[in-house]
Symmetry: C2
Subunit: 343 residues, 2 copies
């Protein structure tokens, strides 16, 4: 049976919320989870929940933890028995198919890169983040922060990673791929992005629709939007900030609009929760994915509570179904030969 490793010590609410989330995922999806971290603490939570004898929940002891404020690279090298390193080893050895890692993105990327290892031919792994779109579906932004040094080849690899994910995990038949840029014309943009457009236009292995402006990232016209980790991270976090500003302004409207607005706000609230807040809430999506490594890795927000962890493990189950890294390795060979056959 496929096993999912979960770093039980990662994030602001570890280990309690992580373990509770794992229990919910096991109940809801029948997955087999391996909780990596302090055995005593994890056992205690399982006992409290009467889950200590659940055969689908394993504990794998790890004595150390990498904190949110530590330098990821240094900490990873120093703390050989950190829960996230041990979790990565379980994926590398093949015992687990996917690692769910709440907490520091930097630590997760390092664990993926050094602990699990790159797919041969992939220069830098990339983070794929699902965004809500106007069609009620998801648009995948890649790279949203793994590598801040963009080269034209990186964009090509990110496009390939995003394409394979959209097709084989998200089951989109003909994924539409666009390159994030400041104009639609192919000659627009920074020198790297202009060169990337040329490279993407010349290859025949994956379909490419051209440049996407920021305005159209979330309209649903594109399934995958390709960018570098610097731009992707800034955009993603700016979007988070915009969401915060919007909520603040809705609250202000209710507060300052008199009795009429107060009643209106009270009446509208449940619908806004259902149709707006939920769509914007990262905890519904589970997390982002590190792609380009020899196994699955799901990066969860540091403030993830049990519901977010449950959903991340559901996503891990979907990822585990496909041998994504093998498909990626095959696709890489095709793109090198500029092979037109579908990948």
């Amino acid at each position: 049976m496929i096993k999912i490793a979960v770093d039980a010590m990662g994030g602001d609410y570890a280990p309690l919320e992580i373990v509770l989330g794992a229990i919910r995922a096991v109940r809801d999806f029948g997955v087999h989870v391996v909780l990596v971290g302090d055995k005593d603490q994890i056992e205690k939570i399982l006992k409290n929940e009467n889950e200590e004898n659940n055969e689908l929940i394993e504990i794998h002891h790890a004595s150390q933890v990498i904190g949110m404020d530590e330098h990821p690279g240094l900490a990873f090298r120093k703390k050989k028995d950190a829960s996230i390193s041990v979790g990565a080893k379980l994926v590398r050895s093949g015992e687990c198919k996917v690692l769910v890692a709440p907490g520091s993105t930097g630590a997760a990327v390092t664990a993926g890169l050094l602990g699990i290892g790159r797919i041969p031919g992939i220069e830098r792994p990339a983070i794929l983040t699902p965004l809500p779109n106007e069609k009620g579906e998801q648009t995948f932004l890649i790279d949203s922060g793994a590598s801040a040094q963009p080269k034209k080849e990186t964009y090509l690899q990110n496009a390939l990673l995003g394409y394979v994910y959209a097709k084989y995990v998200a089951n989109i038949e003909n994924p539409k791929i666009g390159l994030l840029n400041i104009g639609e014309e192919s000659v627009k943009g920074s020198p790297e992005v202009t060169a990337a457009n040329k490279l993407l236009s010349e290859q025949k292995t994956i379909p490419f629709m051209g440049n996407v402006e920021g305005r159209y990232v979330m309209t649903g016209e594109y399934d995958v939007v390709v960018t570098d980790g610097f731009t992707g991270n800034v955009v993603l976090k700016f979007g988070e900030g915009a969401g915060h500003l919007f909520s603040a302004l809705i609250k202000e409207s209710v507060k300052k609009g008199g009795l009429r607005a107060k009643i209106g706000g009270w009446l509208l609230k449940p619908a806004l929760k259902e149709h707006l807040v939920k769509r914007m809430d990262y905890s519904e999506y589970g997390g982002a994915l590190l792609l380009g490594i020899r196994g699955g890795l799901i990066i969860c927000h540091g403030s993830s509570k049990s519901w977010a962890i449950r959903n991340a493990i559901k996503l891990a189950k979907d990822v585990a179904k496909t041998d994504l890294h093998e498909i990626i390795a095959e696709a890489l060979k095709k793109i090198e030969k500029n092979d037109e056959t579908e990948c």
Copy 2:
């Protein structure tokens, strides 16, 4: 008396909405405007509005127009009598202090660069765009799209331009300047942005608060957020898209939430218009500014109607009050000497 040049032929609704906006601005703020464009068309509109004898409204004939879909550089060189080129010349000659340019951003940047000319020492002009923030004020994003080729020195110049604008036009006593980056630590980011952080930290002429993550651009903690034109443009347009998605989801909540939500939405609507929609609406702000040139230039959205033009002319009046380019030229000298005295 200070005169403001207005490209009456720019944007989707020219010349009618531009001329109507100018009339409103003259009525509301007592400014003197010079409408640049087709004399016959402009005269006709003024006559219809009974404003043909208004001494504060002048017409300066220009026989050509640069369209939204033309290549800005080529069109500018070819069409010597285009309204935007003639408007730029009026600023260059000193007859007008500021040019208000609705329509293509590319054409406006070209007109500023070639028609008005750079301030000596400024390598590339930059676009400053006001964003709404959570404190109910504005945060200025610079560069939001003038130059897509970032060098570390460009960030320093953008910081200086933003600082001078915030202090002398927006009248913020101690403007807080941050550098848009993917983390708060000074070593984070792309090579160019890391180098820019070092450069900004070492200079003593303008105050620098360090890196800002995307999430905190609109919290109001910073008055000026410095970035390159590629990132700035993508972020700005992504924010526009997020606003669109957000409105769509509010509408969906009202539609799908049953009778309760419909009544709630109807009751809340006026307050949302007043406190949310207005705050997000570019037409309330007037436009973005091209800084680093020897005169004022306000770039308005291509879809600007009379209200947006009226507000852009109001902003132009504020800009015209200060000799911004002279202050910038002085500040440039100070920053070259790493002078600690206030600029």
